[in-house]
Amino acid sequence: MTTPPISGPSADCGCTDYRELSRRSLLKGAGMAGLAGAAGVTTSMVGDVLTAAVYGAEAAGNVLVVVSQRGGVDGLSMVVPHAEQAYYSARPTTAIAKSRLLHKDATFGLHPSFRALSPMWQKDAFAVVHAVGMPIPNRSHFSAMEEIEDADPDSVERVGWLNRMIGALQSDDIFQGVALGTNVVPTSLVGPAESVALASPGYLATPYAGSKTGNGLRRGLREMYSANNRPASRAGLNALDLAQRGLRYSEQAAEAPRGGAVYPGSGLGTSLRNAAALIRAGVGVRAIAVDSGGWDHHLNLSAAMSNGVGDLAQSLAAFFTDLGPAAQRVTVVTLSEFGRRLAENGASGVDHGYGNAVLVMGAGVRGGRYYGRWPTLSSGKQVEGDLAVTTDYRHVLTEILQARFPSVDTSVVFPNQGYRRVGIMR
């Protein structure tokens, strides 16, 4: 049996990785990155130390954070249509009185638990679009979330819109698309462009890192995982890349939040705290997917919304404080699979519905106001007892991408959508 030599040009310095980096960046520089695989060159990822040089420009790029409100948030409680008598009569025990609402205009007001985000609203950095959703109602949690995150109804390929977005950025940096708070990549990020799901930022290292054993092992791992292109092998190469480049992120995440930011101890708070560290670490992240659970309001809508919106608002407020100057690069949008039914059920809750509200905040937003064409809640305008949809959610996302990621071809990210401008972005 032949065994590769243990000693050689790259013996104990771990410099194989750097050699690969320079080879790769040369290819990139020549605009030939796509040929790397075809030419039989290893598809290994880049090394850590030189990352900043190679990705310097990328690292300062704009970032999109997508907060998925899993379960189907009640848009009518987040953004209350206080001018609608139909809202108050359909919800005898859970409607929110007009007097309690924040930042009212003639039609809408924000749930009182949004208070932590009031400064952003007042600085015009926080906007709302109402009556948003998919063109056709889908009241199944799972298939609605799948459909929203795939966002390409004419294709059977399982590729999510965030994956198409980072794919359109023309670089295959594993840190470009990141899901935080989970090890399972969400549908939106699934696809050919490299992305990573991180349950937490700790321990992003190969075993025995920093020792002679660790150096030898890393070479061995690279050798084993480069031998074929099966899914397990690709996963291993991604892991090696992550280990080399994740250190700076781990260090950032271990530090205290900046600017006196205080995150709630919730899953969302933790994920957004890690998101801020990731952005600050300058590892080239462009899209971050964060999950927020607990929005399936079959019972006790009022308590769930007070707690949930409070957590959401405090987490996001802390996030923007923590980001400091980097906040100029970061735009946040919320998405949920569907809104809730207009009428209460028997448990002071609301079952699955249709039209919903979407929150947009941060860089580039023309905030401090409500957007969308309000269909009203009159019985003739409802869709099977639900708020109708007048704005396709893809139009909101398209507008954000066009404003913040001008190099991305949005017709590739959201094919065949017949885009109509909403007006939320500067």
């Binding site: 899993r70 989970t182 092992l217 061995g220 791992l221 099966r230 291993g236 991604n238 079959h298």
Partner: protein, 485 residues
């Protein structure tokens, strides 16, 4: 004892594939079991009958967790009092399942308990259901995991844990709550092939059940809350005139269990777990047909799956989920838990924590659709990094991790004849731990990790230091083949 008898010769490739998919890692005992049943076919049949005698250790596992059997109201009271939180109760149930998966001879049964628990999904520590969660597994899932899906569905849907989790206790004739009704159709039976009218009708049929949540969790049926009047769901029709609607509901659940769409959904899910992420249509059809023809019989359905030619064509196409990886690693390393007496630092509890660190613990998925059955969802870079580390941890032989566990003697895990080169030892361990020959790259990696040439000769087990032993075995599991099953 696991791994105490060196295996004579490895299983043939088709048998190996069967046990890779339906057992939590191949041990010498498992190989002996397969041989004693005359091979794959006989072993699988005996597994479906659960005819094998359990070891004493395996039989005693429930006694390690005596508090799991407390009444629901006591479970809740001790949670409120802070004596035993919902979270720690949940960890015990998972630890008990891990122990069974490691020690039980009924590997197919334990595999299917996990599969059905992930389909008729109730998480472990959800507020409205946790006091009933252990009872749910013991009365709804385990008795039927190799029986019929119809019987299991009928038990699971009316169980207080399911009612609490999907708010069916809040579903009554004047206040229909569609939560369980919708998931019954979408997740538990026909898939997303229902109308909104079907959801409403199914929900109406489900009215009447109560659970006294956040008080004493007493569960009952209140016929006064049951909706009466004709119910139409996906071709099922019932006058539903009786005040007590349980018999009518039973009819509806029986109908739904046998519906062709349900057969299709169950077959797709089984094939996604046991064949490949995108199973060929021919095998899905064959499995669905077997399910229908047999009247939802699980054994007949699984038999059709493993006998179909596409099953054998799927070798190595699935990946170990993190929690299965942890259990598999313990088994192939020869680690045999000996107790878990509710000790937070016992070996089985460490295994649960390890699975959590790798991002996947059974019954801890946050949504009613259960963990993904697709392998690609578990191949994230961070999971792989964690697996690499934990494989080394579990390849060790001493330390805080190894409390309440018997660690197999080094000599029993290594070849019987010496001297052996490092390359030969790698070959031996690759066959032993993975059932596959070592690749050139694996031999290189072991040598690189040990900092020794692969031609290095060892005179006997004692010549291999504990550290070398750990690096050797951990690196074998850390090859790409170690992620595949």
């Amino acid at each position: 004892m696991l791994g105490s008898v060196p295996s004579a010769s490895p299983l043939n490739a088709s048998t190996r594939h069967l046990v890779d998919r339906f057992a939590y890692g191949v041990t010498d005992d498992l190989v002996a079991d397969v041989r004693s049943h005359g091979g794959a076919e006989g072993w699988f049949r005996s597994q479906l009958n659960r005819s094998a005698q359990e070891s004493l250790t395996a039989a005693l596992i429930p006694t390690w967790f005596p508090l799991l059997n407390l009444l629901p109201q006591v479970q809740y009271a001790s949670h409120i009092a802070g004596v035993r939180t919902a979270d720690s109760v949940g960890n015990e149930l998972i630890a008990q399942n891990f122990a069974r998966r490691i020690l039980s001879r009924h590997q197919v049964y334990e595999t299917m308990v996990d599969f059905w628990s992930n389909l008729l999904y109730v998480p472990i520590n959800e507020d409205r259901s946790f006091p009933w969660r252990t009872d749910y597994e013991l009365t709804a899932i385990r008795p039927h995991a190799l029986g019929t899906y119809r019987a299991m569905l009928k038990k699971a849907i009316v169980h207080p844990a399911m009612a609490g989790y999907l708010t069916n206790d809040l579903n009554y004739k004047d206040g229909i709550n569609e939560n369980l009704g919708r998931e019954l159709l979408e997740l538990h039976t026909v898939g997303r092939r229902y109308s909104e009218k079907d959801v409403l009708n199914a929900s109406r049929m489900l009215t009447g059940f109560t659970v006294n949540v956040f008080v004493d969790y007493r569960a009952a049926y209140d016929a006064n809350r049951h909706y009466t009047g004709r119910i139409n769901v996906l071709g099922f029709s019932h006058p539903n005139r009786a005040k007590d609607g349980r018999a009518a509901l039973d009819d509806m659940l029986g109908y739904l269990a046998g519906h062709p769409f349900t057969a299709r959904r169950i077959a797709e899910r089984l094939c996604t777990r046991f064949v490949s992420d995108d199973p060929p249509e021919t095998i899905v059809k064959a499995v669905a047909n077997a399910y229908r023809r047999s009247g939802t019989d699980i054994g007949a359905t699984l038999t059709a799956l493993v006998r179909h030619p596409q099953f054998q064509k799927s070798r190595h196409l699935k990946a170990w989920t993190p929690s299965d990886d942890v259990v598999r690693t313990a088994r192939v390393m020869g680690l045999e838990p000996t107790n878990g007496l509710a000790m937070a630092d016992s070996f089985v509890q460490h295994l649960v924590a390890t699975a959590r660190d790798m991002g996947h613990v059974p019954y801890r998925w946050p949504r009613p659709d259960g963990w993904p059955e697709t392998s690609r969802d578990y191949l994230s870079a961070s999971r792989v990094l964690r697996s690499w580390q934990h494989h080394y941890n579990l390849a060790g032989t001493s330390g805080d991790l190894f409390r309440g566990v018997t660690v197999a003697d080094k000599a029993s895990q290594l070849p019987g004849t010496w001297p052996r080169t490092l390359a030969q030892l790698t070959q031996h361990q690759s066959q032993r731990l993975l059932g596959r020959p070592a690749t050139r790259e694996l031999v290189y990696a072991v040598a690189a990790a040990l900092g020794k040439p692969s031609t290095r000769s060892y005179r006997g087990p004692g010549a291999l230091s504990d550290t070398e032993y750990q690096l050797l075995r951990g690196t074998v599991l850390n090859s790409p083949a170690g992620l595949e099953r």
